[in-house]
C-alpha cells in the first residue's frame, strides 16, 4: 500500500523532472528578448510580474512562519520551564515535545527558504557596492544579467540535481523524524530545499528579464522602473 503510494509520488516526481527539462529553455528567454525585443518584450514583462507575485506569496508564508516561530518557541518554553510538561494531551491527540521541536524547525526553515526569492526581488541580498555606485543603471543591469546566468541559475540547478536521488530515497520510504515521537513528515521537510531552489530560479528569471529590458532600452533612456533605487540596506 505505502509502496504503491510512494511509487505514484515517484512517478509524479519523474514527471516534474521532465516538466523542468521542458521548461529549462525558458531560462534563455532573457537572452532571446535581447535578440527579438519586439514580439517577446510584452510577454517578458508580464512573466516577470507574475513571478514577482509568486515570490510575494512565498514571502507571505515566510512572514506567518516568523510570527508562528515566536509564538511556538515561547509556548514551548512555558510548557517546559513553568509546567514541566513534555507532551500536550488533548483527548486522543498527543503532541509530544519532539514533534513540537520539529514543528519549530519547519517554521524556521520555511521562514528563511521562502523569503529568499522575495529578498532577491527587493534587492535585500548583500552586494559589494564599491563599484556598483559608479556603474550606472545599464552597468548594473548588465551585472545582474550576467550574474543571474553565470551564477544563480547554475548553482540552483545544482541544488535541484544534487537533491534528486537523495530526495527520491526519502519519499520512497516516507521518511519520518529521527526522533521516535517527532513529526512523520521529514520527506516534506527535505522537499523544501528544491522548492527554495525553484523559487530562486524563477525570481532570477524575472530579474534577468528586467535587466534585459534596461539593456534593450539603450544608453539614453533607461526606464525608471528598474529596481536600482537606493536600496533599503539590510539591517
Amino acid at each position: 500500500m505505502t509502496s504503491e503510494l510512494a511509487q505514484t509520488f515517484l512517478q509524479l516526481g519523474g514527471a516534474l523532472e521532465w516538466a523542468g527539462l521542458v521548461a529549462a529553455p525558458l531560462l534563455l528567454l532573457p537572452l532571446a528578448t535581447l535578440a527579438f525585443p519586439g514580439p517577446l518584450g510584452g510577454v517578458a514583462a508580464r512573466l516577470a510580474a507574475v513571478i514577482d507575485r509568486i515570490s510575494g506569496a512565498a514571502l507571505s508564508i515566510a512572514i506567518w512562519s516568523g510570527i508562528g516561530l515566536v509564538l511556538l518557541q515561547v509556548a514551548i518554553i512555558v510548557l517546559r520551564f513553568v509546567f514541566r510538561v513534555t507532551a500536550i494531551d488533548i483527548g486522543p491527540v498527543s503532541i509530544a515535545s519532539p514533534a513540537l521541536n520539529d514543528l519549530l524547525l519547519y517554521l524556521f526553515a520555511i521562514g528563511f527558504l521562502f523569503a529568499s526569492a522575495s529578498a532577491l526581488r527587493d534587492d535585500g541580498h548583500v552586494r559589494v557596492d564599491i563599484l556598483r555606485e559608479q556603474m550606472g543603471p545599464r552597468g548594473r543591469a548588465l551585472a545582474d544579467f550576467i550574474g543571474t546566468h553565470l551564477f544563480l541559475f547554475p548553482v540552483m540547478i545544482l541544488v535541484l540535481l544534487a537533491s534528486r536521488g537523495w530526495l527520491a530515497q526519502s519519499w520512497r520510504i516516507f521518511e519520518g523524524s529521527r526522533e521516535a515521537s517527532g513529526l512523520p513528515t521529514y520527506f516534506l521537510f527535505k522537499t523544501l530545499i528544491p522548492a527554495f531552489a525553484l523559487l530562486l530560479i524563477l525570481q532570477g528569471l524575472a530579474n534577468a528579464l528586467r535587466a534585459a529590458a534596461i539593456l534593450r532600452a539603450g544608453p539614453t533612456d533607461a526606464p525608471s522602473s528598474t529596481r536600482s533605487a537606493p536600496r533599503t540596506p539590510a539591517l
Partner: protein, 524 residues
Amino acid sequence: MEIEALLAIAMFACAIVALLGGFPVALTLAGTALIFALIGISLNVFSPIFLNVLPQRILGQMENQVLLAVPLFVIMGVVLERSRVAEDLLHIASRLLVRVRGGLGYAVILVGALLAASTGIVGATVISMTLIALPTMLKQGYSPRIATGTIAAAGTLGQIIPPSIVLILLADAISNANQAASGAGHVTGVVSVGDLFAGALIPGLMLVGIYLGYIAVMSIVRPSSMPRTDAVSDIDLPPLRASEVIFGLGAPLLLILSVLGSILGGLASPTEASAIGAMGAILLAGARLASTNATRRLILTGLLCAGALALMGANLDLRFGGAATGFGQTLATAFAALLCLLLLAAAIAALRVLARVGQLEPAFRSAMQITAMVFLILIGAALFSLVFRGFGGDDLVMELLHAIPGGKWGALVATMLVMFVLGFFLDFIEIVYVVVPLVAPPLIMLGVDPIWLAILMALNLQTSFLTPPFGFALFYLRGAAPDGVRTIDIWQGALPFIGLQVIMILLVAAIPSLATWLPAIASR
C-alpha cells in the same frame, strides 16, 4: 605547484574580482566555486562528490537549533526599531544628559551599545542612529567630525556586544573549526554561543567605556566641538515625566538585560532567550503604539505575567497531576495557567496593535528577508568552502600558516591582517563563513584559544568597518547623512575611534583573560 592548488588560489582570486561586479555576494561565491569545480572535474582533479553534498549542507542549516536564534533576534531588533522604541530610547537618553557637555555623544554611545544587543549587522544601527541622532547633534553645534565619528563607532558596537547575531554565527563557525581541530588530534573544550557572549561582554563593555572616556576628554580639550544646549530645544518641550523615563528607558533595558542574563546565567539557551526577547519586543512595541489605555494596560499586564511566570516556574512545582498534588499546588498551577492565558491575550493584542498601525507586515517582512539574506550567504559560503576543500585548499592554508615565521603569533597576526583587508568589501557574515573554517582549525591547533581568537576576530572586523575609505559603517553613514556633511569629515571623525579600537585589540591580545575569564566562570 600542483594543478589543484593553482585552481584553489585562482578560485579565491576570481571570486574577489567577481564580487566587485556587484551581484549578490552569496550567489557570486557559490557560482564562482561551481565554475571552478566544473573545470576541476573536466581536468579530472576534482571529485563531483563534493558538489553532491550541498543539499545535505542546506539541510544541516535548516536543522540547526543554534541558528534558530538568528531570525528571532532579528525580529526583536526590527520590531524595536519599527515601533520607535529605539528612537524613544535615544531621545530620552539625550534629554536626560542634555545639561552635560557632550551629553548627546554619551547618549549615542550608550544607546548604540544597547541597540547592539538586538541587531549586530553593521548597517542597521548606523543608519537608524544617523537618521535619529545626526541632525540633532549638528543642530546643537557639534562638529561634524565628532558627530559622525561617534555615530559610526557606536553603530559598530553592535558586532561585539552580546547578544549580537554575528557572535552567534561566529560561535557556530568557531565551534565547527574547533571540532575539526580536535578531530585532527588537538583537544580543547566545546565552544558554545554562551561562551562567546560571555567572552565578548568584558571587551565590549570596556570599549563602551573607552568611547565614553574619549568624549569626556574631548569635551574638556575641545569644548567648542560639542557645545552645551542651554536654550535650544529643551525649553520648548514639557519636562520628562518619570513614567516616560521608566517606560522608555527602563523597559528596553530590562528586556535586553533579561535576555542576556538568562543566557549568561545558564537559565536559557540562546535560542530560547531570543524568543523571549522577540516576544518582549512585540509586547513593548504594542504598548508603545496602542491607541487606547485599555489595550496598553492589557499588554503591560501581559509583560508582568511573563515575569511572574518566570518566577513561579523557577520556585514552584506546577506540574499537572503530579504525585503529591495538594490543594495549594493545584491552586498555584491554575493561577499559572491563568497567567499564561493573559500572556497569550496580551501577545495577540500587541500583534493586532502592530497590524493596525501597519507595522506588523513590514517588520516581519524585513526580518524574514534579512534572515533569508544571512542564510543564503551561509549556503553560498558552504559551496565555496566545499569546493575549496575539494581542491585541497584547506591544506594549503594550513601549510601557509605554519610556514609564517613567529609560530602562533605570526600566524595570528597574518590572519588578522587578511581579515582586516577582507572587511573592506565583505560583511561580517561572509568573512565568518568563508575565512574562519579555513584559518581557525590550524590556528587552534597551533595553540590559540578558540574564544580568544573569536573575540579578536570580532574586534578586528569591527575596526575594519570603521576604516576609510572602504569601511562599511562609513558607507552606510554617508548614505544616510545630510549632504552638508563632507565625506572627509566622516573619515577624519572615524580616525580617533580606529585608534581606540586598536588599543582595545592590543589589550585583548596582551591579556587573553579579558576574553576567556568570564566564559570559564559562566560555564562552571
